[in-house]
Symmetry: C2
DNA sequence: TCCTCCCATGTAATCGTTTCCATGAAGGGA
DNA sequence: TCCCTTCATGGAAACGATTACATGGGAGGA
């Protein structure tokens, strides 16, 4: 492949001059600049970013490690991160941890070796030694969506607490009393937060928190289905099933349908985390919408601040309740 | 950051030896190997992939340029590509062209500069000069899902023709005669192919191809909605709307719902390209399923063959008709 | 006319690896 | 005992860019 040397030879100048032209340094004659550009075009020269990065110690690349690209929430997040990063002149390398700590570690390792300029992680479950190292090493790192306890890392996340309170109030107002919750993994900050908010909100509305109306899934559809099944088998089944994320809501929906039950007449359904097609399901599903794009954009901005050694304070965005027909009549007092 | 030199000093050996240990070359004593590993661990050494790539001329990275990560079809594709690539020791950099030629070019340029070992492109519309260059330069390149005319590039794609014939036959058997088609952009090979197959299949079933029952969208939801609206406004509206991709099907679904029409009683709906939530819509939507995972995996394999300079023949996978309730009673003769 | 200053340009070191080649010690066969 | 072979190890040259520093020519002032 043609390098800067060939360009220099073709243009009759030194490699230094070519480099200056390419980085449009001001100290170069208009004439030589033209010659170099001509040579670049003639030889179809493409700068070698690898060599440049080696010398400049910057790759203009960000790493993003997410739970699962097939989850629409993460897809939207990834898309937003990419857009914002591109606007700032960065490329994003996405790693799919698939919610597995070892795969998360695989990507942390790979991305560190690739010398990404910064790392955005939606941490999966545990504090792995690698992540700890990474924090200790002080490389630019920002936690996205989720946080890990005990680590001094800036984070950009959504707080769903008030939206969950709103949802429970809404359900209470509609006359529902027996509200079950399919929670997420205890190991994830988002899982813990939503569970806590559910319990607080139930108490706040004067509703009873029943042991058998709470069970933890793994944020995947299958667990939502299984748990919904158990709820519906109870001697006194819940009137509402509230799922802790969109995939478990999907699983619950399948289970309810499979039993030939009607929504919301036989059982109502709500989801934390709204996705585009919830509108198209029959009935449309009441959900708590997270500002995923905003989240992604803010995360990139925070990371860039860290990269430039500016102080960065944590970002917490609010979620929003979107009421639809899956919980019965809305819009009526 | 600590480099190979520090490791060498700490272990009391030369950099050459450290390098040999890291690449586990056989010609190294068990004893020195141990010393080096100890030093690596003690110093928390991380190999610098940038420097390594510069020297070895290989980045172990593949580029993937897709239309839009928010389209579930591409999300599944991207996921499969990543999985297969990781299994082969490669990292994938995903570029979101957003169906815009200039953004596609942005990624082609960036990825070439990053010296990816190979490039997987779902080409957007036009043959841009950059892509032409890229082909001329002979860098490992494979077209995925879509192809570009007149370029000698191996491709891995789905042929939906027979599935479309099957669909039209199915609709004909159910008694439908007026079948409208929301086609994709003429500029995309997939768009052209599906349109051609629709027309052929209509003729094969002895059905009339009516000018007003064909209109091209842009593979995005909004266009599907607008075109469905026009179809439904016709003096003699179609009995079935067949959308050329999942997003346009979604748009059409919205339009039909907005008009308070019932599916399939008032108008039936079918989609090229099946997505997970089609099952959960009411009624579930008849669709032509593409083997997206298989497509992604085969594309990576083909690309790796090209990288290793082995001959690679084009791959064409069949699509499959999945009948559901949106086109009326199925499973009955 | 000559000195000085400026500024465009060139030379060469450098980034962290890999890898070719040299080196020297050890071992074995004669 | 000596020489040849084998093999682990080290020295140093790449890879392709950036950049500090050197250089030289031209212009302008005295």
């Amino acid at each position: 492949m043609v390098g800067i040397k060939e360009v220099a030879a073709h243009a009759g100048v030194s490699v230094a001059t070519v480099s200056r032209v390419l980085n449009d340094s001001p100290k170069v004659t208009e004439e030589t600049r033209a010659k170099v550009h001509a040579a670049v075009k003639a030889l179809r020269y493409r700068p070698n970013a690898v060599a440049r990065s080696l010398r400049t110690e910057a790759t203009h690349t960000l790493g993003l490690i997410i739970g699962d690209i097939l989850n629409p929430f993460f897809a939207v997040l990834a898309r937003a991160v990419e857009d914002e990063a591109r606007a700032a002149g960065y490329t994003v390398v996405i790693g799919n941890a698939d919610e597995r700590p070892e795969q998360q570690d695989h990507y942390v390792r790979t991305l560190l070796e690739q010398r990404v300029d910064g790392l955005l992680i939606c941490p999966t479950a545990e504090v792995t030694p690698l992540v700890e190292d990474c924090v200790a090493a002080g490389g630019p790192l920002v936690f996205l969506d989720r946080t890990l306890p005990g680590l001094e890392v800036p984070s950009v996340r959504v707080d769903g607490t008030s939206a969950i309170h709103e949802l429970i109030r809404h359900l209470h107002d509609l006359g529902y009393r027996r509200i079950a919750f399919i929670s997420g993994p205890e190991l994830l900050s988002t899982g813990r937060e939503r569970t806590q908010a559910y319990m607080d909100a139930m108490r706040a509305s004067g509703l009873e928190i029943r042991e058998e109306y709470m069970e933890a899934g793994d944020f995947q559809a299958a667990s939502g289905q299984a748990i919904a099944a158990r709820f519906l088998e109870l001697p006194e089944p819940p009137q509402v099933i509230f799922a802790g994320d969109n995939l478990m809501a999907l699983g619950a929906l399948d289970e309810i349908r499979a039993r030939g039950m009607r929504i919301p007449e036989d059982v109502a359904l709500a989801s934390f985390d709204d996705v585009a097609w919830f509108v198209h399901v029959d009935p449309p599903i009441t959900a708590i919408a997270q500002p995923a794009e905003e989240l992604g954009r803010r995360a990139v901005r925070a990371l860039l601040e860290r990269i430039e050694h500016r102080p960065v304070e944590p970002v917490v965005l609010p979620a929003r309740l979107v009421t639809r027909r899956s919980c019965g009549e809305t819009g009526k007092p």
